[in-house]
Subunit: 537 residues, 2 copies
């Protein structure tokens, strides 16, 4: 078997059976190998081959995207929902560059991704052909695992290590650079999965030290992030809070937050430094678990970057990458052995009426959100009132913009829908960032994904209008305003979506949004609602 | 004045008065400064300030794009046509990543670009906020000039050096990293332009050595690239060819090729290695001027990467970055002092009729191409018959896909139209690569640019279908074919364009294309024609 075949077999053996791809010439043998690595052959070749065994057709599913930012964002969304990595397939440095922003978001989400970047054949690099590019330099910016595969014989093993690496350090981007001749050369060996290193356990002494802090009776805020934002972590932190009076918070941009009726409802830290300062005022201790202590998203003249309240002490229960859920469970057993968590009651807003506003569109979502929904949230300024409106909705997951690089929302929704075909996926997408990766709509149509996109169309970079004020740029005039304005021309997202094969409709009132949202959820396949929601401010 | 104001004044002083921008929070003071740096104030501040003087309103024009790949491609297209750099404004590492593919193309085109990348405030970087990113690592992949500005006092001088650097080494990407507090801090000083180092002159001995080769009477191919692909270089090489019998060729992907009636018509080297091998067979000498000796775009199993014919000698008249036009003129004076160039006669194909084909659509363009047109050519496989059909059309420029990173065509057309508002710009755009930077259409609409886009819609990654065969991937099957197919769903580029504010129409016959193309040229502002052209093969 050739290198590409051994690579794909090894990935499938390790449970990586979805590849989001935007291939080029140097990746053609990988593409061809998608057909030759079939369910019946996946485990049967090579001295070290292991059977993928027992879980149905284990061959690789290739999902085409028309832009690499969709590839990488979809891989991120897939893994956040599936709990295991997908592979990407990118074309040299420029393809990696196009995918870099959403890999940055994945890095900040601690998402495991096996990031396969094709390169020229080993012996071709010396010619400095037009697409020759410094893949190592670009991928080094992701601070993850990087390996350049050197031979067809080794690429299977390299892939096994890449899968393991992607799941270490709390989850990271593992970039495997794949020269074309390594793909097409013979002698490939499909290998068994390499078990990833288990996450580091938090020492008992650390748990006990935090327990002591909680027992002081002083005001304690307990900030959780990473895997702690899912059910087990939320239950534990709710027990701790109930028993000790500590106030729990979820980090500003969790990779995956489970919430809704039947789960503890935990307040998220705000995006704006001013909000966080308000939220944390008065606490003497800040316990962080699975995240870092809060800092301002950006710097602003004369304002602090470190958002820990003055005089407060920071105590780290678990660093990102440590087993934060186990640490929280141990902490709960220590300070709240017999205490039950407080669970959110089912509660929905009434369906509103009238022209769409920043307030009433979230009430529509809250009133109609289906059980088990997955929300890919890139609503930005339009979405600030969303958490309150959906707190008591049926249980759902929220995937947020972890790294602040816009253009994540539609690709992450795409990947989430591939990972969870039986769950409704809802993309809440601001207009200002929608165009970055708009061709995700085409992939949704091609794969017939059950994604309902609500496009919050306020015809402005509203967040930048706000930021222009916040950074103290008081001299702004018509030229500055022009750069923050998305009207002239207005974008017609109904046409854009239909042009990419996604049925679409326009809502200008709450009634229309409710009607279209309900119908979109009831129908299979994707739908986009161009919701004309005026700016919040 | 603050740092951002001094930066903009310095850029304007140096003739950089267009900035393509996709800003974020860390760039808000730059955005605000666009208004405060006005024509009347641009030259009047600071001890070292020089007046931009005499050429009308010298303030900076900000052009908004909705994606950074549009920003960087537009800056490339602008400079290829204007002959001087534009500035970009990008948002941290993810913004640079999004713009990287077209910066890669600009690098290969030797285009001068002043690439301004905003970053967090200097004192904020230690917090590792979500958008913290390794801008230096990413930009190092461009092998150009990089400087991180350290203070508001220095940023003016840094900008002056960036403008100079962008025009050295034959033209390059000069990346200026701009921390937010350097922008907003006081003490900025607008400085005079720094003269760029002049291009290195080619030694007389080199010219004479090449002249000797030409006098041997042996078969000589003369391959020109870079600035030699414009009028002066073409005239010189035509004289040399007439006098000596040498066969001239233009490099495969020139940044800007001047051609048409009244100019020498010089054959371009093909994209496929097989074509180049055919074109160069039998030559004993290959003289290269302003480019490198030809190599295969990609490696293919068992095929050579170096396309110099076996046994042929390579002679370098001018390296890229040297003054190739002067060297060719000197060579012509040496070997062809009294010889006139051979000029292409005016000649157009007849207007064809019938359903669109890969042959007849180029005849429509050839028959109707207006005087002074600028073609941004990303037609890929659909365009292989274009050069023959337009050889005798009125004089025009062709901007090609220099670095092979697709998604260049629409942004480069955007920038070209900003640089040359009185010339018709024609974007010939393949469907497979159109979606990478499709939001360029929105910027065309906003700026009311005179760009006519002919979208060659063959509903496939046709080039990859071909490449799948060429790399010898013989085992391809339905999964591979699925990844090279762009139908299911078909894209409707009329709707996509209209959704972004660009009037659009669909052509399925040569008559329709001719009619729509003529009307689009006659009307101001952008237009898109969705031309359903079947794949060439």
């Amino acid at each position: 078997m050739n290198g590409a075949q051994s690579l794909i077999r090894t990935l499938v053996n390790a449970g990586v059976d979805v590849c989001f791809a935007n291939p080029g010439t140097s990746e053609m043998h990988f593409v061809a190998a998608l057909d030759s690595v079939s369910a019946s052959s996946a485990g049967g070749h090579g001295a070290n081959a292991s059977s993928a065994g027992g879980h149905g057709g284990p061959e690789m599913r290739g999902v085409l995207a028309l832009f690499e930012g969709v590839v990488t964002g979809a891989a991120d969304g897939y893994a956040r929902v599936a709990g295991r990595p997908a592979a990407t397939l990118l074309h040299l440095g420029p393809g990696l560059g196009n995918g870099l922003a959403n890999l940055h978001n994945a890095r900040r989400a601690h998402t495991p991704i096996v990031n396969v970047v094709g390169d020229h054949a080993t012996y071709h690099k010396k010619y400095d052909a037009p697409l020759e590019s410094d893949i190592e330099a670009i991928s080094s910016s992701l601070k993850g695992w990087i390996r350049r595969s050197g031979s067809s014989v080794d690429v299977g093993a390299d892939a096994a290590f890449a899968v393991a690496a992607s799941q270490e350090a709390g989850g990271q981007v593992a970039t495997l650079i794949l020269p074309a001749d390594v793909s097409w050369g013979d002698g490939g060996v499909a290998v068994k999965p390499v078990p990833p290193k288990a996450p580091q356990q938090v020492a008992d002494t650390t748990v006990k030290a935090v327990a002591e802090v909680l027992r002081t009776g002083e005001p304690v805020a307990l900030l959780i992030g990473g895997p702690a934002c899912r059910e087990a972590g939320l239950l534990a932190v709710s027990r701790v809070a109930s028993a000790t009076g500590a106030k729990p918070f979820v980090e500003t941009f969790p990779a995956r937050l489970e919430r809704g009726a039947g789960l503890p409802s935990v307040e998220r830290l705000g995006y704006l430094a001013e909000q966080v300062t308000y939220q944390l005022t008065g606490f003497k201790h800040l316990v962080v678990a699975g995240t870092k202590s809060p800092v301002s998203f950006f710097a602003y003249p004369g304002k602090p970057g470190d958002l820990v309240p003055e005089g407060a002490q920071v105590h780290t229960l678990a660093e990102p990458g440590q087993d934060v859920v186990a640490a929280l469970a141990a902490l709960a057993d220590e300070v709240a052995p017999d205490v039950e968590p407080v669970l959110q009651q089912a509660q929905r807003p009434a369906l509103p009426s009238g022209p769409l506003t920043a307030q009433n569109w979230v009430e529509v979502i809250g009133a109609l959100l289906p059980e088990g929904a997955i929300i890919s949230d890139e609503a930005n300024t339009s979405g600030v009132l969303l958490p309150a409106a959906t707190a008591g909705a049926p249980r759902h997951d929220v995937l947020t913009l972890t790294g602040g690089a816009i253009g994540q929302g539609l690709p992450v929704a795409t990947g989430a829908a591939i990972a969870a075909p039986d769950r409704p996926v809802i993309a809440l997408q601001a207009d200002g960032s929608a165009l970055y990766t708009i061709s995700a709509l085409w992939t949704m149509a091609r794969e017939n994904l059950n994604v309902t996109t609500v496009l919050l169309n306020n015809r402005a970079y509203a967040i930048l209008r706000m930021e222009l004020q916040r950074v103290g740029a008081t001299t702004s005039g018509p030229k500055a305003n022009e750069l923050l304005d998305l009207s002239r021309p207005d974008m017609d997202f109904v046409k854009i979506a239909e042009g990419m094969g996604v049925p679409a409709s326009r809502a200008t009132t709450a009634e229309e949004l409710a009607d279209q949202f309900s119908r979109a959820l009831a129908e299979p396949g994707p739908h986009l609602i161009d919701a004309l929601v005026p700016p919040l401010m």
